[in-house]
Amino acid sequence: MNVLTATGETLAVESNPVLNISIFVAFVAVTLFIVIRASRNNKTAADYYAAGRSFTGPQNGFAIAGDYLSAASFLGICGAIAINGYDGFLYSIGFLVAWLVALLLVAELMRNTGKFTMADVLSFRLKQRPVRMAAAITTLAVCFFYLLAQMAGAGGLVSLLLGIDGRVGQSIVIAVVGVLMIVYVLIGGMKGTTWVQIVKAFLLIGGAIAMTVWVLAIHGFNLNTLLEAAVANSDKGDAILAPGLQYGANPWDFLSLGMALVLGTAGLPHVLMRFYTVPTAKEARRSVVWAIWLIGGFYLLTLVLGYGAGALVGADVIAAAPGGPNSAAPLLALYLGGPVLLGFISAVAFATILAVVAGLTITAAASFAHDIYANVIQKGRKDAAGNPVEPDPNGEVRVARRTVIVIGILAIVGGIGAQGQNIAFLVALAFAVAASANLPTILYSLFWRRFTTRGAVWSMYGGLGAAIILIVLSPVFSGSPTSMIPGIDIVLWPMNNPGIVSIPIGFFLGWLGTITSRTKESPTLAAEMEVRSLTGFGAEKAVDH
């Protein structure tokens, strides 16, 4: 069954870097053209951060899918299924079910009460400064962890797909990705970022459908035949049909991961920000529905692709290839369609990184400029005579653009520095922080009338602190050969994922802070927030051009 040799060098030999790079350059050219066209109306904050709130539900649904299906979920889940079978599938389900939290509890109410950022909603009826500051810090933390993981992942992807192995070559590619990201976000703002994500989602899902049909056709359109072939070609045999190969060693750790996944998504700031790019709450609802169908459909495809890679390429070949499990989808593309399909899938993988980092960057920039600069630093500033100074609304966008450049440079430097490090845990950490620091405060603000400023601040800082401290004390950070710092051993917490403890801490502190508060929050604002969140009265309207 194996056409490929077991050395795994076939990929580098058969892949054609010139072809891969040309397909990628074509993608960049097309999206750059769209970005420049889309950028003509990018003056106000609503244009820059929220694309004038002019996207439709289906468009935004595609953009959400493009933002959410990162290289980790495309290459990572395919590879996990190809090598460890069922456990990769188990992992993907948390990413999907999480969207029900967003659909039922968060999306529409957030759209109705906020303007640009998560902090808008959280500080609506609480004290502006402390809550905004805390929400901005957790937003920046999540974006930073996620961004670093994506940038460092770009380096690994390069060695896999373009055959560039040297450190210098990989660093150059990371820098190119970073510069492209800065250009997209600087020129295109949210509108440009959204179009990049939409185009990428089309390509990714289109490519995955084509490969899935191909794999199924080889196996007579029978899932059972495919599974039999995968079992026959795996040295683990039947075990790939049941859970346990990847997470069996520490089931509690998997439970912890599952909690962070299902509760983290609805607290990811770059996901929340997407809800402001549509004109109404009803469109926000439609966009989540589209996102659920696209993301769910995509994970069903990865199930076929993963087992297909195991059956047709072979788990041993994949494990031995450069990039390890991440090479499952590209190797399958090579097996099916030769260098052309491989080039296409490689270009899509790059586009994926570009689209995800662009979304993270604009979220972080908006949070810094809108929450910290405009609402904490500038607000209440007085001139020499003691009169309040009105903040300049264009100043905010100017600060956001400068922040984009700073974040872009930080991401390039961080991505180059983190090359070859074990950074897979950073994505898990981002989800854990989102679930522990953001989600409790979001839910309490929307559904618990008594919730107070102290509850919000305790919950956000407490959840953030607990997640980071547990990660630092965990085996992914120190104490084992695969750790980030293998030389020292400060392991006090046995799991790779902090969620099982840090999420309850976030919820508990929000409750504790609230019941110990002596000051009451404004009942008028609470009533206003509730009326607005449910009826959409006073919600930000689309910008007319």
Binding site: Y86, D87, F89, L90, I93, G94, L96, V97, W99, L100, V101, L103, L104, L105, E108, K127, Q128, R129, L223, N224, L227, E228, V231, D238, A239, L241, A242, P243, G244, Y247, G248, P251, W252, F254, L255, G258, V262, K282, R285, V288, V289, I292, W293, G296, Y299, L300, F447, S522, P523, T524, L525, A527, E528, E530, V531, L534, T535, G536, F537, G538
Partner: protein, 115 residues
């Protein structure tokens, strides 16, 4: 209170009265009595599935027919319930929530216009 948003009833609408009105309370009750049980259901069902995957691996490995295992069917079941809840919620929101919400919103917008 100076630290609060300046929007506090700046639009001249008595939000507390709106919130206590019969129609708004119906809207809120309808929404919450639908989404809370549903959220509890899908979270419990998800965690039951994760716990089975983590601890009951032998049960999940049982074959139903051919190479199709219990675990695979339960996993696909998660997809089915997710899609079903999505469609159910949308139908419910379109039919039951949107009409009341639109009515209250339009009245508020009219009242604001006259103020």
């Amino acid at each position: 209170m100076t630290d609060h948003s300046p929007a506090e009833s700046a639009d001249g609408i008595d939000y507390i009265a709106v919130e206590e009105s019969e129609r708004f309370r119906t809207l809120k009750r309808t929404q919450r009595s639908f989404i809370f049980p549903l959220a509890a259901f899908f979270l419990i069902w998800y965690f039951v599935y994760v716990l089975l995957g983590a601890f009951a691996t032998d049960f999940m490995a049982q074959r139903v027919w051919g190479d199709i295992t219990v675990g695979l069917l339960l996993g696909l079941g998660q997809f089915v319930t997710t899609f079903a809840i999505t469609m159910g919620y949308v139908a419910f929101a379109n039919r039951k929530l949107d009409p009341i919400a639109t009515e209250i919103r339009e009245e508020l917008e009219k009242a604001q216009g006259h103020a």
